[in-house]
Amino acid sequence: MKRHLLSAADLSRDDALLVLDTAEELAQLTERATVKKLPTLRGRTVVNLFFEDSTRTRTSFELAAKRLSADVINFSAKGSSVSKGETLKDTALTLEAMGSDAVVIRHSWSGAPVNLARWVKGSVINAGDGTHEHPTQALLDAYTMRQRHGRVEGLRVTIVGDVLHSRVARSNVLLLSTLGADVTLVAPPTLLPVGVESWPCETSYDLDAVLPKSDVVMMLRVQRERMGAAYFPSSREYSRRYGLDVRRVTTLKDDAIVMHPGPMVRGMEIAPEVADGVRSTIQEQVANGVSVRMAVLYLLLGGAESAIGSPE
């Protein structure tokens, strides 16, 4: 039985399309309604288990679950027993005893959702684990691309920035290749992982060469502390070589869109004028995030058997 969403690789092409279609239907339903709540998950309990601060993602999942009438518990590591040395396993068993139907987990260690899934009977949804994956982000990105371009298949998607440490990049590469897009990763060589040649995508070090061919440009956040670890010499040099500034945007095709998973470092990887410009989908991504997460919760929890995701 399919139960979890741990990796974008858990989704077949049909699974992914079902999520996107369901998200679209749910968005239309709630848009038209005066009361935005649907009764679908009434009586079900969804736990938001966040070991890492992320107001944006937690709020998005919370809103998604509430719009489906689920009971939502926010369990944040700070101020809970987790900070007193309780292990992930103990936390999992506690949630299990409370009868949670789904756990949405954000954790700073890669693979923590996989570990959690061994200890709980309910569904586990990966809301970002370390530098591994963030599958619902990839789903909302694909949804946004489809909204703007009418399709995902055949799109040329360029993902720019700190691929090495990015769970967004990993999930997007997997999902977008499943959906038939052509992905190119652009980064300084220090921020591409050893082994990236095995991923289903192209890579380049030259942003200017790739931009004119792109339908979608997704900018990743670059944390300033990477500079201290000598991945690149200075934030100024990074911006000059890999930042999406006003000049670079003029080389894009007319209908190309600019995406960012947030939170942004304005002036570093993206110029404020670009982030706020007409090509930018940053606000739409946030809104779409709720619809996509509703769809995921609905498909995992709605029926007797989950309709998507990994069996174990």
């Binding site: 260690w109 996989v114 095995s198």
Partner: protein, 428 residues
């Protein structure tokens, strides 16, 4: 102690003979032996090997008696066919003084399951700053000959040079944990295709190979003795082959798990597969097997690293690295090397007994099974198949990567100076 007559054992895999063990030594070897009052041990179909010698064991005492003690660790060793183990120095307190190594040595004598040869730390507190009193440890009752900061690399080139020079005065060897620290900050698994997908920080092969290259050249320069712990990459095998061609005094060990397992297992995120150095690729496994077969890698050492449950039942990144290995070592070597035709039992005896004993210099171990030699040996059923059950093991910890696996070859009996420590596969 009564004499023991081992009937019909295939001596290091050869033709069946009888072995009479009396007064701590092999008293007679031949066909149709008899001795009134001797305890008879039938060894029909069993292979007799010289008692195995482990150059790399973590017994965790003093400090982490919840994970292992000298008593439980050496009991596990005996069940694995070992008659001598070298106990690594990264205990708490660190074995960096004559006092601590003598304590560990005495605990071994008291337990009586196998001989314990304590390894002394190279630097005070394993901090890599100041040389520990190596001479005092060598002169102590523990007679330390192997020195290692294992768990940490002696990364300072000057300190490593001085240590290799200094121990020449008392026939010592520096066993290096080759891991360039700056190249492995936060490292979680082998750097490669799998780490890129799993989002786990990579531990690149070059971090091991760079230190091995440096240390081999240093050993050649000062004429010192270098032993490379747990070699894990194909590149390391090449470097050691090159150093040996130069005639430098360099030896190396490989663990059973690096001969069998690959980093594909990390995809489970099950920390039982987290180990340092990490599991590598099939290419590395093949090169390590070849290196062990052709003698480039001198011996097998377990790196038996027991950990308490709470240190393994966690997220991968938070878990302690290490696997238990004493009770599975011979079986894993049988599976990886004997069943594949890369080693004979005679060669297994060399790589798990004679050679490690030559490197570590424990008294009376790794000797041939000949008249007058200490009666340290084990009897192995080469046709046995058994299923690994962590709960049934003598080690106090459960972090075996082979849980539920079926492995070939089983240790039936072990003798320490003629006294059985294991009979019928159980503690004697």
């Amino acid at each position: 102690m009564s004499a023991v007559l081992v009937k019909g054992a295939r001596l290091v895999g050869g033709d069946p003979v009888d072995l009479l063990l009396d007064d701590g030594v092999v008293a007679e070897v031949g066909l149709g032996l008899s001795r009134a009052g001797a305890e008879i041990v039938s060894a029909d179909g069993l292979v007799a090997l010289p008692g195995l010698v482990d150059l790399h064991t973590h017994l965790r005492e003093p400090g982490r008696e919840d994970a292992e003690t000298v008593e439980t660790g050496t009991a596990a060793a005996a069940l694995g066919g070992f008659t001598a183990v070298h106990a690594m120095a990264n205990t708490d307190p660190v074995a960096d003084t004559a006092g601590v190594v003598e304590q560990v040595w005495r605990l071994g004598v008291q337990a009586g399951h196998c001989d314990v040869a304590p390894v002394g730390a190279v630097t005070v507190g394993l901090r890599g700053e100041q040389m520990a009193e190596l001479g005092s440890m060598a002169d102590s009752a523990a007679r330390v000959r192997v020195f290692s900061d294992d768990g940490k690399c002696v990364s300072d080139a000057s300190l490593m040079r001085r240590a290799m020079e200094y121990v020449k005065a008392f026939d010592g060897v520096i066993a290096q944990h080759a891991q360039e620290p700056r190249l492995t900050e936060g490292a979680q698994m082998n750097e490669g295709i799998n780490s890129s997908k799993l989002g786990l920080t990579g531990w690149p092969a070059v971090a091991e190979e760079a230190i091995i290259a440096r240390d081999c050249i240093l050993a050649g320069h000062v004429g010192g003795r270098l032993h490379v712990c747990h070699v894990s990459t194909a590149g390391s095998v090449e470097l050691i082959r090159w150093a040996k061609d130069k005639g430098w005094d360099v030896t190396a060990e490989v663990t059973p798990h690096h001969l069998l397992l690959t980093d594909d297992l990390a995809a489970t995120y099950d920390p039982v597969y987290k180990v340092n150095p990490p599991l590598r690729t099939q290419t590395d496994v093949d090169a390590l097997r070849q290196g062990l077969a052709d003698g480039t890698i001198d011996c097998v050492a377990t790196d038996h690293a027991p950990h308490a449950l709470e240190d393994k039942e966690s997220e991968w990144g938070a878990a302690s690295p290490g696997m238990t290995g004493l009770e599975t070592a011979l079986s894993v070597v049988a599976k990886a090397m004997v069943e594949t035709g890369q080693l004979t039992w005679r060669q297994v005896a060399e790589r798990m007994s004679h050679t490690p004993a030559r490197i570590g210099r424990p008294d009376g171990h790794g000797r041939p099974l000949e008249v007058g030699q200490p009666a340290n040996l084990c009897l192995v059923d080469p046709r046995a198949q058994w299923t690994v059950d962590a709960r049934a093991m003598a080690t106090r910890s459960r972090n075996t990567p082979y849980q539920g696996d079926t492995l070939p070859a089983r240790v039936v009996a072990t003798f320490l100076r003629g006294r059985p420590t294991v009979l019928d596969g159980k503690p004697a």
